[in-house]
């Protein structure tokens, strides 16, 4: 068994205890958490710093405000409802179209206004929030994903997760929804993780349920070699996430919109570790390099340049 641990160590794998004890706890002061735990706050913050975020149509803060829901939905064809304090992609309802009084979900099923109403009231009472605290529900722009992912995403929006350590993007992956993940982009819900080369912005290889795959399980399209457009700008935006929040160990979630380009969806103070599996490499050596070099990196540009020079695969 100890030889197994040694093997993980040799690969430079960062484990859950190490993430919490050596990175999250020391570099993400508790007082900064509210900045990223509440998506409304995050949105304001990132917007003010000049980052691109999906437009917000409205916020529901209390059950009585739900009276305005029908009027709001009247004018919208597609939108996303999400809890402000949700975690792990829970409680997100995506509406891609409208048919009469019913709304279309990405899996081609319908929901009524009443069901949307119920969903929001569940969010408000804290069903999806950490610790069951009362929550807010955000209604925002539904991303029209870039056709570049057409062949490799199934019923949902693929997103890009970048781990940023002290402002330097250290590792990135593309998360592809599958039939099994129900259009969600979370790996533990069955989405596919795909490594991205930090230097070129090209996808490398994919891992699904801990096995290597060369193609998407639903569309059977090859996955590697897809170039993410505007990669350097994406890295810059993620690096800005650090400048804006001050969180030393940060996960930045970005989606590519076909009209609006990269949009920052979410910042995460406790990003998961599956990115290592998707990239088939451990985080440890990259984190160590940043640890040694970050004093000399003063702007986003320098940080991104450093990342591209050092973390290519």
């Amino acid at each position: 068994m100890f030889s197994f641990f040694k093997k993980l160590k040799a690969h430079g794998i960062v484990g859950m205890n190490a993430r919490n004890g050596a990175y999250v706890l020391p570099h993400n002061p508790r007082k900064l958490y509210p900045l990223v735990d509440d998506k409304e706050t995050t949105k304001r913050l990132t917007q003010d710093a000049g980052l691109n975020v999906p437009e917000m149509y409205g916020v529901f803060r209390a059950p009585h405000e739900l009276k305005q829901l029908p009027a709001m939905l009247e004018n919208l064809d597609s939108f996303v409802i999400k809890p402000a304090r949700g975690a792990g992609g829970n409680g997100i309802l995506v509406i891609t179209g409208k048919l009469g009084s019913h709304f279309l979900k990405p899996d081609d099923s319908f929901v009524s206004t009443e069901e949307i109403h119920f969903h929001i009231s569940n969010i408000l009472s804290g069903m999806h929030s950490l610790g069951g605290m009362p929550d807010k529900a955000l209604v925002e722009y539904c991303v029209k994903f870039d056709p570049i992912f057409k062949g490799i995403a199934y019923q949902g929006v693929p997103d890009i997760r970048i781990i940023v350590y002290k402002g330097v993007p250290v590792m990135a992956m593309l998360r592809l929804p599958t039939r099994e993940s129900d259009g969600k982009a979370n790996l533990h819900q069955g989405a596919m993780g795909c490594g991205i080369d930090i230097r070129t912005g090209k996808t490398t290889h994919a891992v699904w349920k801990n096995n290597n795959h060369a193609s998407h399980p639903d569309t059977l399209q090859p996955i590697s070699g897809v170039l993410i457009p505007g990669w350097e700008e994406l890295l810059r935006q993620s690096s800005l996430g650090y400048s804006v929040t001050g969180l030393g160990y940060l996960g930045v979630d970005i989606v590519l919109d076909k009209d609006l380009g990269p949009l920052i969806l979410e910042l995460n103070a406790r990003p998961g570790l599956a990115i290592q599996v998707a990239n088939k490499t451990g985080l440890q050596s990259r984190l160590d390099k940043v640890e040694a070099a970050h004093h000399n990196l003063h702007s986003e540009k320098e940080r991104v340049q450093y990342a591209m020079d050092n973390f290519g695969s």
Binding site: I13, G15, M16, N17, G21, E114, G282
Partner: protein, 521 residues
């Protein structure tokens, strides 16, 4: 700097904990393992009431005529109270039986008592033959029948009842259970209902039964007592002593059968209550029984008391018995918590809630393991069913949670009633389950069910249950209990280990599974 502080803290904790521990073991000679047999029992009655700023008198039955046991080390604690120990005639509603003439009571009195009052009676029961556990044997004297003193209308009802049961039965063995059945379900029979109109509790029913038995020509006597076993909330159980054909027969009122009492200690006889009060209100008596752990360490304690007179003044052994029994349970909680830290941070188990498995494990203590796991699963499954149905009604979250809670309470009450009817006494103890925790668990399982699918939800539920079972096994281990009760300083050692675990940044065992792709090739 921070690391130095950590090392220093851990070092100090380890030094103190292990230091005191080894001093007690090697110098004072405390036993490391619990004694194999517990021969003596600490019994305690805690009387609490509110004074009304007036003279007050409390009468409490004390242990008396306990065959097979010697009552020693009796203590009566009541600050500012006058106390006398008197013998009292047993009166079953004016019906006196000379064969068991006397109860022994303590009378506490005070001229002025105001506010909350506490009185404690404690005694040690030692078996007269300490070789093996004694069973109780009833007295051999021949009793006499007495006039049950029924009023006219009562007499008619009593005669009607007895003659009817007499016709349905063949002998005493069939007569008594039938009679008790009638009295315990008086709704079916108006005669029984009339006779029981003033009997408020099970003691009242037993006393009516005794008078009816005398009327039927069977010399009988009620006996009230406790069953020996570790409990901070012992309950009085009622038995009948019946004399026929030159021998005594014991009848278990709760079970409705003739049997020989095991581990039963009679406290008093007759129709008097355990405690009576004049001049006060809200009288409450709680009883506790604990095996005498000090007895197992008697030699050590005796020796240390002469050499270090104050040593035990500040140990857990100086607390009242009831508090000791409570601490025996409370001290187990940190052990469960530390086990959980290990399972989560070193093994990598994920469970519902942080310390919920520990609480579930605690409730397993009340029900025993298999019953606990069975009932836990049944309640969770039925609760989940209800929760899934409520989902259709589109209720808001908090009302829905309240609905689940109400259902859980009803379910558990139902399970208790059914189990009781089927004669399964364990089913009744389900009522001690922490219901709120169960409903929260149901809610969390169902939310996870919605979001991550049934597989993940069931997996987590089973993991929580497994951790709870593991915690139960550790927490009910008699060696563990003995060690931490006799050597509470070991908690400092555990604290040190927990602090170290808190800084453990190495891999978890289940990281091997997560990152198994890196282990290939």
């Amino acid at each position: 700097m921070n690391k130095l502080q950590l090392k220093l803290l851990v070092g100090i904790l380890l030094a103190i904990g292990l230091g005191v521990f080894s001093y007690k073991v090697f110098v004072l000679g405390f036993p490391l393992v619990p004694a194999e047999k517990t021969s003596a029992w600490n019994v305690e009655a805690h009387v609490a009431f509110d004074g009304k700023d007036s003279p007050v008198k409390v009468v409490l039955q004390t242990l008396n005529r306990v065959s097979g046991f010697a009552v020693t080390d009796e203590f009566f604690i009541g600050a500012g109270y006058g106390r006398q120990r008197v013998s009292q005639k047993i009166t079953d509603e004016k019906l006196t039986n000379e064969a068991y003439d006397q109860n022994s009571v303590v009378i506490w009195s005070k001229r002025l008592a105001d506010g909350k009052q506490d009185l404690i009676y404690s005694a040690v029961l030692r078996p007269e033959s300490s070789d093996e556990f004694p069973t109780w044997s009833p007295p051999q004297d021949i009793p006499e029948l007495r006039d049950p003193q029924f009023a006219e209308a009562e007499g008619v009802a009593a005669n009607a009842l007895i003659s009817r049961i007499g016709k349905e039965s063949a002998d005493m063995e069939s007569f008594v259970p039938l009679l008790m059945q009638e009295l315990q379900n008086p709704k079916k029979n108006s005669n029984a209902a009339y006779l029981l109109r003033n009997a408020k509790n099970s003691r009242g029913i037993v006393n009516v039964a005794v008078r009816l038995l005398h009327l039927a020509g069977i010399p009988a006597q009620s006996v009230h007592g406790i069953t020996l076993g570790t409990s901070s909330d012992a309950r009085i159980s009622h038995w009948l002593e019946l004399y026929q054909d030159g021998a005594w027969h014991m009848f278990d009122v709760a079970k409705g059968v003739f049997s020989t009492p095991v581990k039963f200690v009679p406290w008093w006889r007759g129709d008097a209550p355990l405690a009576e009060i004049t001049g006060g209100k809200d009288l409450q008596v709680s009883l506790s029984v604990v095996p005498d752990a000090i007895d197992a360490m008697k030699n050590v304690v005796d020796r240390i008391e002469t050499t270090h007179p104050t040593f035990f003044d500040y140990s857990l052994f100086s607390l009242p018995v009831q508090a000791q029994a409570t601490y025996r349970v409370i001290l187990l909680i940190p052990i469960g918590a530390i086990l959980l830290v290990f399972l989560r941070n070193v093994i990598g188990f994920s469970t519902f809630g942080t310390f919920m498995p520990v609480l579930i494990a605690l409730s397993f203590r009340e029900t025993q393991l298999l019953w606990g796991v069975g009932m836990f699963s049944v309640v969770i499954m039925l609760g989940l069913g209800v929760r899934l149905y409520l989902e259709h009604l589109k209720l808001l979250l908090v009302p829905r949670l309240a609905c689940v809670l109400i259902t859980v309470v009803l379910l558990m009450a139902g399970i208790s009633v059914v189990c009781f009817k089927l004669g399964i006494p364990r089913g009744v103890s389900v009522s001690l389950f922490p219901m709120v925790i169960l409903s929260m668990t149901i809610e969390r399982i169902s939310v996870m069910w919605d979001e991550m699918g049934a597989g993940k939800a069931i997996q987590q539920a089973v993991a929580s249950m497994a951790v709870a079972v593991l915690a139960y096994l550790v927490m009910t281990n008699s060696y563990v209990e003995h060690l931490f009760f006799v050597f509470p300083e070991l908690f400092l050692v555990l604290l040190a280990l927990t602090v170290l675990l808190g800084r453990y940044t190495g891999y978890r065992l289940l990281d091997l599974v997560r990152f198994r792709t890196f282990l290939r090739g």
